[in-house]
Subunit: 330 residues, 4 copies
């Protein structure tokens, strides 16, 4: 019988944390031994929404307990807390899957700009876009899981850029459900302000833009919008294909890139929509090419809490531990 | 040429206050001379959402300025502020249309329970359910505009109870959009908590229940629910008709009661729905009777920010000043 | 190694059918060998939304193939088709879990009224409210899975009525997401008609009312409403408790009834909401009692496509085949 | 006392037609004498949603009656019907404000592609983007009111292009509420398919793209998306500014262009959102410029049924008849 990996979830009460709890609960190879929330003073809590799924206590954050009780920890903590706890855990032998963003950017200047709490010295992290980092995962001790927006954008663009198919600007127009903004109430996420509305935010100033640029090594215009739904995001990506590229070339390159990827579904000219990926770990990618103008439009979507957060983190664990990549995620 | 009534809006930034600004701006017989917000320390504000509709400044609350600049004031202030400002304005000759609730309950014990900030002595207020208080309005100096839930319930039930048609319990199951919970962010009104959900609240403990009981002189079971929409509420009312009553009796009584009411639309067996009344001052009422059981179901709906707040307040002003009741509201 | 049960899904393209496909795909003890749609002339179809979950073809309905390839069939077919196919399958040795409603009502007059396509002779069916029919399932050949509304209502009411705690009328005010109305476009389910609206329907005339009355042996007033969300329903139930009953009595009776029920979560005075049960097989039940009036309010909710349809059907299969009741459903 | 213009609404039952009814009912200078629906065989209808707003009958389409009873007609008819009725009305002396699209495109090849029903000979129409065609309206007999998407795009782009500020590609990423897809039920507009989802459609193949290109005389990439709300659309426009252009240049040009425009609100760096324009005739425009890349992003939004349809049509009537442009629209 296969052994069970004892894991901890540090930051179990936020939306990504709750989703981790749900997914981990039905994952046959892990056991959540420890669930913690960062607001240490709050004492022990339970989450009614998780009743019967995971009925343990959610306790205040404790590195000592995580070290004692777990082998791997998923962190969905505030940046400044993650910046401290992550290296501490790694130093004491715990493998860390970080969802906070703190360890994603490699350029110190970029990191200081977007994650000011970053410590001076940082453990080298593997950027955990599963489909493009499988080989590095088994040895990795600190995995920086990608942001939700970058996951969708990079899965669509990386194979095309690696194959040299694209020219010129990259524009990513993203539409995200409100759960991406987290669980903390604010005017921006107040129901009556979001319902029946769409709003752009973070224009020319969203840290996921820097993350996408780092991974593509290209300048990117990234504009996120809030749309009135809970879970899921869709990105419409505007690029130009090289003169000799057509829709079939794109198809071939993407199909080769994802031939063995259980969670990337290529939909071709039938463009994907959020409803088809909500509550799943799939990233769906479609595309259309206009030969007369050379314009290529890619549409890519995923559930920001699953493939964009908790699901991808578990997918990374699966690969890191040599399990089937899809274990517990289909 | 008819004169224009200078009015003030005290509490202009909340949802009901904004709706008052919009409606007053297109009302031909009033002019908003003064718009104030209760958070006095905030200084002068503007409301981008009202640009071109009303471009004046929203200033800190000042009774002196309201007295100097207005003849009538609409108050959508926190209870404790309204409890103080309302009587002060009336004492200095300003007519007050209160939307806060503070002056609705007449029984001192009930008032203390639901509106603890109420002052010991209170100016006698007219309960401003327009269709049932027209005669009292011209002389009234303090008009306690009804709550959104009571408006819908009372318009449906009062004629039937006055006519002695009903027996036994009254159960009101209400479904309201989230704007009824106001503009202040909270976990309860966070988009991701409300979207895709329905939740009961204030069961056996909502102050609108006390208000309905006062006006009907009956015991009422009132259960409000939040449903994922912004504006509008619908109530399903369960009563029993007297043995000799049938659907036609109900129709006759309601048609007589509202023969001259421009904003009550009787839909009979075609039950009303929120979409038909959103952004209007209408209250739509439908009903179905089951002869075998004697059960009568009334369904009534309105826009909580218009007929349930700002619209009804202006309707009261129209009647109080001898204008056509529908002025500025159709 | 445990054997795998070959199952068929007859009616795989509707919303309940899709959910069955999803749940069955991750159920460790069943294998979907056959998926069919009732529109026979359409030829073979695939469902993009199910790509990678179940990639087989959806073929035209064929009793012969179901008999040849499966041991148990889940039917989400139109009433008239189910009325014919169900008995034919049973006669040829296939166990049938019916979700269509055709076999739920036992009284011939009621059945003719609400399911006119019912055949004259009908195989005796077990009414499959899992928590209350476990003993009958292993021997059952035709299981009439309950409707979504009745499931929520009966789980809350049956133990209290069986214990003799209630008196007088039963009123059930139900609020359902639009997926309950099925996949066929209509004006009633058109996005712009539902968004921002709430509407009652089927007042005094919904077949689920008859189903609830049959199972409770009581007269019930049942009023469903459409609310603007996709999945989930919530029912607010108004009853009267016997004079000597209090909140603790209710708690005791419900806790005893569901001590071993993995999918009934009792929330007591913290009333449940749809968001907590969406995409799960849970039915959450809460209650509040008002001692002064004797009024008892129960609030119960579930996901209409899971516990109200596909999930409960699989739960019935689990019990029928002697598996752990929660297999594949947590 | 000013005279009242007798108008007809041909196509009164669709969403744009209903909005015309509502707006015309409170317009002080027009009277709806005639409301018709194109489904001639249906006989006389009423619209419960318009009760008390306009209680006349909606009769089958009749050119003779429109000629006899009206001076100006608003057409929201199917393309092929509008193509026939429009010229017939103009020929008989009725001024026509067309909302169907049939008369917008001037190039015969484009017209045949996107509006195949167009007659061979077509009355020269004025393209009725009010803010940019005021001088032509008084003499115009056939006004082709712009589409909802083009209205938002052109109001933002035309002044900048006319001033020669932009270079290179124009990309318009549009997000629209579902009412833009009309009142006819379809799988695409079924509630459960739209709720919680976002989907692109008409990529490289939407007739509003051709309309925008005609008016800008530029190649444009236009990608519309459906987002889960009822009314309103928002467009994110990606262009490049000339090297010497900065945010202040853009501000100056737009402020000059719309100094006298009552319905264009310039929000500068505070980007607009749909909620602020829903149920109004405003088009809000904001912009941000990134000096390092030269990238300029414009965000523009409006209510597709008001400024994008019924409101703009009435605004055109106001100008055509020499009334104040904002009459009945604020």
């Amino acid at each position: 019988m296969p052994r069970t990996i004892p894991i901890g979830i540090a930051g179990a009460t936020g939306y990504a944390g709750q989703e981790l709890m749900r997914l981990a609960a039905r994952h046959p190879a892990v056991q959540v031994t420890t669930a913690m929330a960062s607001g240490g003073a709050d004492g022990v809590r339970t989450l009614p929404v998780l009743a019967r799924v995971w009925d343990g206590d959610i306790t205040p954050l404790s590195v000592d307990r995580l070290v004692a009780e777990t082998e791997a920890v998923f962190m969905t903590l505030p940046d400044s807390v993650a910046a401290e706890v992550g290296p501490a855990l790694v130093a004491r032998g715990v493998r860390v899957f970080d969802l906070s963003g703190t360890f994603r950017l490699r350029d110190p200047a970029q990191r200081r700009r977007w994650y000011p709490a970053t410590p001076g010295f940082v453990e080298p992290a593997v950027y955990g876009l599963t489909e493009h980092c499988r080989a590095a995962l088994p040895a990795a001790r600190l995995i920086a899981c990608p942001g939700c927006y970058p996951t969708a954008a990079l899965l669509a663009l990386r194979p095309l850029i690696d194959a040299g198919l694209l020219e010129g600007d990259v524009i990513i127009d993203a539409k995200s459900g409100i759960s991406g903004a987290g669980k903390k109430p604010s005017e921006r996420t107040h129901f009556s302000e979001c319902h029946g509305s769409v709003a752009a935010y973070g224009v020319f100033a969203h840290r996921h833009g820097a993350e996408i640029e780092q991974e593509l090594q290209r300048t990117v215009t990234f504009t996120p919008h809030l749309v009135p739904l809970d879970r899921g995001l869709l990105e419409t990506i505007y690029v130009r294909a090289r003169r000799d590229v057509n829709e079939a070339t794109v198809t071939t390159v993407l199909e080769q890139a994802y031939a063995d990827a259980p969670f990337v579904r290529l939909t071709g000219g039938t463009l994907p929509e959020i409803k088809h990926v909500a509550h799943t770990n799939f990233c769906d990618i479609g595309w259309k090419h206009d030969p007369s103008s050379g314009r290529l439009i890619l549409v890519t979507c995923l559930d920001n809490l699953v493939k964009g957060a908790a699901g991808q983190a578990l997918q990374n664990l699966n690969v890191a531990y040599g399990l089937d990549e899809a274990t517990g995620l289909l």
